[in-house]
Amino acid sequence: MGALTKADMAERLYEEVGLNKREAKEMVESFFDEVRSSLGHNEQVKLSGFGNFDLRDKKQRPGRNPKTGEEIPITARRVVTFRPGQKLKAKVEAYAGTQS
């Protein structure tokens, strides 16, 4: 079973919501573009029923090149973290498949 992609999502919008193929494709593009854009303006995204995309500022910290052992600082950066909501956590917890 392959991973879910944007094309699969567009297909679902075409079949179930009745958007035409072009509208369906644009809708999926817009969805992820707008979420990314919000995060790119340092604004958290909250999708109720799914989860929150939060932003965290990390300070510079010492690091090491694992190949050479050379010490190099890991620069200060901003990162995205995803916090799944209660509803998603509950749904996923029940999955009893193989360890992944």
Partner: protein
């Protein structure tokens, strides 16, 4: 940004669909993503990131109120790994002074 704000923004940037249509489309996308993960399947969105499940082994836990020990069963938790484009865009916002 909340789900309803996301709906408003998408609706305002196009002319073909009503807010209702966009609302249903956004809900359908989110439901499909939840459903996919709950079946143990991955989600891969190029430029955005991927969602998968991480396994948590069974462990002995404790009821924080009573101190009684309880056995917690194995479970899966959702995990998101941001893609390069998203990582870069977010990190650039720091450099740009947001």
């Amino acid at each position: 940004m909340t789900k309803s704000e996301l709906v408003e923004i998408i609706a305002s940037k196009q002319t073909q669909l009503s807010v209702k249509d966009v609302e249903l489309a956004v809900k359908t996308i989110i439901d499909l993503m939840s459903q996919t993960l709950s079946q143990g399947q991955r989600i891969e969105i190029r430029g955005f990131g991927s969602f998968s499940l991480h396994y948590r082994a069974p462990r002995a836990g404790r009821n924080p109120k009573t101190g009684e020990s309880v056995q917690l069963t194995a479970k899966h938790v959702p995990h998101f790994k941001p893609g390069k484009e998203l990582r870069d865009q977010v990190n650039d916002s720091l450099k740009a002074g947001y």
